[in-house]
Every structure is written in structure tokens, then in C-alpha cells.
């Protein structure tokens, strides 16, 4: 219950004025030296001490680990694409950002003598991945897809993971030299990862499209991952 202590004003002697309306209320005053305290409780069934333990008070490590675990779970879902809704329902863009930055960083260092003829710069890779994903999402929404904007961005970004793995493998393989055999190995790895990326993203995105337009939605995804694979494959050996 709400308790307030009110101090009724002391009316010293003097003029007897007619008692005003709500006489008691006008006398309520909060003085500085008398604290106002109390508690408002809503009775619930079982009152456990953890219920009003908000995430604002938890240690930073817990927050980070929870988000990292969510991202890691989505990575696993991409590598083994089953019909799971984790990617779609709880979308986040941390994973795509990490993948995009690491892929762009690994594609650096492909510069030739003149800057004009080299490989893609960091900004170019970044723009291609994000702008490409946005355009594909807009395309699928304009064709009548029912998926939301950020869900689609999330799926397309996470499905870059196999290609990032391919880039890592290519760079490691290139440390061993550069010859025709090395090139064949890189070609096979990149083609396999390209197929994996395309199939994974199609598995997640195809269901939300109208049935007679599926090919129209899948083709831009195919083109997107093809361009990224081409950038990975043509990374010039030092």
C-alpha cells in the first residue's frame, strides 16, 4: 500500500478562513527531512528473484557470449542447411559484417604495378557484397516475396561463409607456390564452395517466393555468388 506521511500544516492563530475544498490535500507537502518511501508490488503467482533480473545488469561477457553463440549457431546452420528457422526468425547482421570484412581483407594485397589493373580494393568488395545483397532483396520483394528485408539480407550475408572458407583455403594453398596443379585445386575448391553457397541460400529463400517466379529470384543469387567466386579465383598469386 502506498503510504505517505503528510504533515498537516499548523495554522497558527489568526484569521479563521472558511475551510477550502479538499482541505486535507492542500496541506500535503513533502518536506526535505522526511523521506517519502514505500514500495509498489504487483502480486504474481511465483515470485522468483531472477524474473526482474534485466539484461542490463548482467556481465558484459555474458552479453557478448550470447551474441557470439547466436552467430556461431547460424554459421552451423549455413554449413549444414536444413530447414531451420533460426536464420530467418532471429536475424542479425553481425555475422555478415564479420564475413564481409574478413573476405575483403583477404582479397587485399592483389595489387599489380599499376593500381588500375589490380584486384578489387576493400571498398569495392564491401560495396559489391552489401549493395548486391540489397539489390537481390529488393528484387525478391518486388517480385512478390514474403520475406522481410533484413531477414533476406541476413541469409545472403551468412551464405557468404563457404566462399570465405574457400578464400582462406586459396590463400593457404598459394603459400605453397603457384602452378597449374595449385590452380586446379583452387578452381575445384572455389567451384564447390560456390555451389554450396548458392544451394544454401536457395534452400532458405526459395520457400518465400511465389511458385512461378522462383527462377527469377534464384538467378540473381546465382550471379551474386558467381561474381564473388570469380573475385576469389582470380586473386593473383604473389
Amino acid at each position: 500500500e502506498l503510504q505517505t506521511r503528510e504533515k498537516s500544516g499548523d495554522e497558527g492563530g489568526g484569521v479563521a478562513a472558511p475551510p477550502p475544498m479538499f482541505a486535507g490535500l492542500s496541506d500535503v507537502s513533502i518536506s526535505e527531512d522526511i523521506p517519502v518511501e514505500g514500495e509498489i508490488t504487483v502480486p504474481v503467482g511465483s515470485h522468483s528473484p531472477d524474473e526482474d533480473y534485466s539484461t542490463l545488469d548482467e556481465p558484459v561477457k555474458d552479453t557478448i557470449m550470447r551474441d557470439l553463440k547466436a552467430v556461431g549457431k547460424k554459421f552451423v546452420h549455413v554449413m549444414y542447411p536444413k530447414k531451420s528457422s533460426a536464420l530467418l526468425r532471429d536475424w542479425d547482421l553481425w555475422g555478415p559484417l564479420v564475413l564481409c570484412v574478413s573476405l575483403a581483407l583477404m582479397l587485399q594485397g592483389g595489387s599489380a604495378d599499376s593500381k588500375d589493373d589490380g584486384g578489387p580494393q576493400f571498398a569495392e568488395v564491401f560495396v559489391i557484397i552489401w549493395f548486391g545483397a540489397v539489390v537481390i532483396t529488393l528484387n525478391s520483394k518486388l517480385l512478390g516475396g514474403t520475406i522481410s528485408f533484413f531477414q533476406s539480407l541476413c541469409v545472403l550475408g551468412y551464405c557468404v561463409l563457404p566462399l570465405t572458407v574457400a578464400m582462406l583455403v586459396c590463400r593457404l594453398v598459394l603459400l605453397a607456390g603457384s602452378g597449374t596443379v595449385i590452380f586446379i585445386v583452387r578452381l575445384v575448391v572455389v567451384m564447390a564452395m560456390f555451389a554450396w553457397s548458392t544451394l544454401a541460400s536457395t534452400a532458405f529463400l526459395a520457400d518465400s517466393q511465389p511458385p512461378n517466379r522462383k527462377a527469377l529470384v534464384v538467378y540473381p543469387i546465382f550471379l551474386f555468388y558467381f561474381v564473388i567466386s570469380w573475385m576469389i579465383l582470380t586473386f593473383p598469386p604473389q
Partner: protein
């Protein structure tokens, strides 16, 4: 099934009474019946007209009306832009087929677009063409310079942005100029056929499709082969453009009509030749120089 009585005009209370008498009878309102009759009449007219006026397209005002009815959403809503993507897979494939195999006497716009211009085809065909040209150019340069010891492979990624600028500028600015020109001539000379801006963009976009396999085949490092491929592609897509735009200008002054059509084909050829010259290195020069040097060497030894 509606009986004849149901189709006759009836007072409102009679219908209510009839319904009260037979609660589960099917009812058809008079509005539906008259609409069905109108649709039948329109269809008969439509098929008759189409046989006669394929090229002329005298149903242009009807199609303009239909186009106006479709895009009724205000332009700041998402639904407005969805009307430009209202195509199915088979429709896109049909339009691509129509741009590659021009049927003489048939108009691409009337036959395939039919007042449903889409932006899917032009946008993604241009995107594919940009990457096809950049990648094929890179590959062909790689194969041409493969034997030389001084050659260091470079991905030449800058060329992608140059190709994108050139192709998207062609696919959007030339239709804009052509549309403006046709509108201007329309105000001076009463033309039977008039195209909307999106239909022109559509025709141009789909006519670029033939260049995609052409660009891939340009990897072959033979000059003669490349020029034959270019001529072949130019003939096919150029004829689609000519057959589309000739009906729109032929009622005009003869010289202006010819000049328009020639300009359309010329710009189309310019794009192809420019791409061939910029993105694909000339193959014969590198093949000829060792033999020429050898011949010069033998000649100088002979004279000595």
C-alpha cells in the same frame, strides 16, 4: 447455373422475395451479366484487330488505357514499383526468345510486352552483360598473353565499373532520348503508334541479351571470328529494334524516319564495337610480331 429469369432486370424487393422463397438459390446480379457481355464483345474485337494491325498497333489507345488502369498506386508506395515486376518466369523467357529470334513483320512490343513492361529483364540482363563482358575480356586477355614470359596476370577489376557505366548509360539514356524525340515528333505529326518510356526501356534491355553469348564467344582469339559474331548479333538485335521503331516513325517525314532508324542501329553497333575494342585485346598483333621479326631477320641476312 443462372436461369434466364435471373438475368432479367428485377426489382430489388422481388429478388429479396425470391430469395426468401428459395434460400439456397444462386443469384447473379444484373451488373455481372452486362459486364460478361461487354468482355465477350471486347475479346471478339481484340482478336480481329490483332490479325490486321500487328505492326500498326491501332489498339494503342486501348492499351494505353489498360496501362493507366494498372498503375494506379501513387508513386511513393512500394506497390507502384511492384507493378513493374509483374512477370512470371515463362514470360521473361518468352521475351528473351522474342528478342533473339525476330519474326519478320511482328512487333516485339505488341507481341510480347502487351502493355505489361517489366524492369526485371532490362536490369538483370544489363547486370549479366556487364559481368560477362568484364570476365570474358579478362579471360581472353589471359589466354592471348599466356605464352609470353613477361606477362603477369592482373584481374583488371576497374574495367567492371567502366563496363557497368557504359552499359547502364546505354540502356537508360538512349531510351530516354528516343522517347523524348518520339514524343516531340508526336506533337508535330499524328503518329498511330506511340510507346511509353518503359516499353522502350524494355525493348532496349531485352535486345541487349544477344550480346551475352556473343561476349562469351569473343574469348576465341581470332579477329575474323569476333567480327562475324558481332555482325551476326548486330543483325539479330538490330532487326528487333528496327521492326519495333519503324512503325512509330514511318508516318513522319521520310528523311527523319530513316535518320531515326539509322541512328538507333548505329548506336547499337557503336556499343558492341566499343566493348570489343576496349575490353578485348587484339589477338593478331601478338601472333604476327614473332613471324614478322623472323621474316625481317631472314631478309636482312639475305641482303647481307
Amino acid at each position: 447455373m443462372a436461369t434466364v429469369d435471373d438475368l432479367k432486370f428485377q426489382e430489388f424487393d422481388d429478388a429479396a422475395n425470391l430469395l426468401a422463397g428459395k434460400p439456397d438459390a444462386t443469384t447473379i446480379s444484373i451488373d455481372e451479366a452486362s459486364e460478361n457481355a461487354k468482355n465477350q464483345y471486347g475479346l471478339l474485337q481484340d482478336s480481329g484487330r490483332e490479325e490486321d494491325d500487328e505492326l500498326l498497333g491501332t489498339d494503342s489507345d486501348k492499351t494505353e488505357l489498360l496501362a493507366g488502369q494498372k498503375k494506379s498506386a501513387p508513386f511513393w508506395t512500394f506497390e507502384y514499383y511492384q507493378t513493374f515486376f509483374d512477370v512470371d518466369t515463362y514470360q521473361v523467357l518468352d521475351r528473351i526468345k522474342g528478342s533473339v529470334f525476330p519474326i519478320p513483320g511482328r512487333n516485339f512490343v505488341r507481341l510480347y510486352i502487351r502493355s505489361n513492361p517489366d524492369l526485371y529483364g532490362p536490369f538483370w540482363i544489363c547486370a549479366t552483360l556487364v559481368f560477362a563482358i568484364a570476365i570474358s575480356g579478362n579471360l581472353s586477355n589471359f589466354f592471348i598473353h599466356l605464352g609470353k614470359s613477361s606477362y603477369q596476370y592482373v584481374p583488371e577489376f576497374r574495367k567492371v565499373s567502366i563496363a557497368a557505366t557504359a552499359i547502364y548509360a546505354y540502356a537508360w539514356l538512349v531510351p530516354l532520348a528516343l522517347w523524348g524525340f518520339l514524343m516531340w515528333r508526336n506533337s508535330k505529326v499524328m503518329n498511330i503508334v506511340s510507346y511509353s518510356f518503359l516499353e522502350i526501356v524494355c525493348v532496349y534491355g531485352y535486345s541487349l541479351f544477344i550480346y551475352i553469348p556473343t561476349a562469351i564467344l569473343w574469348i576465341i582469339p581470332q579477329k575474323i571470328v569476333r567480327w562475324i559474331l558481332l555482325m551476326f548479333a548486330l543483325c539479330l538485335s538490330g532487326s528487333v529494334l528496327v521492326m519495333t521503331f519503324w512503325p512509330a516513325v514511318r508516318d513522319d517525314n521520310r528523311r527523319i524516319a530513316l535518320a531515326t532508324v539509322v541512328t538507333v542501329v548505329f548506336l547499337h553497333a557503336l556499343l558492341a564495337i566499343g566493348c570489343l575494342a576496349y575490353f578485348f585485346d587484339a589477338p593478331d598483333l601478338d601472333v604476327l610480331t614473332p613471324t614478322v621479326a623472323a621474316q625481317n631477320g631472314t631478309i636482312t641476312t639475305k641482303t647481307q
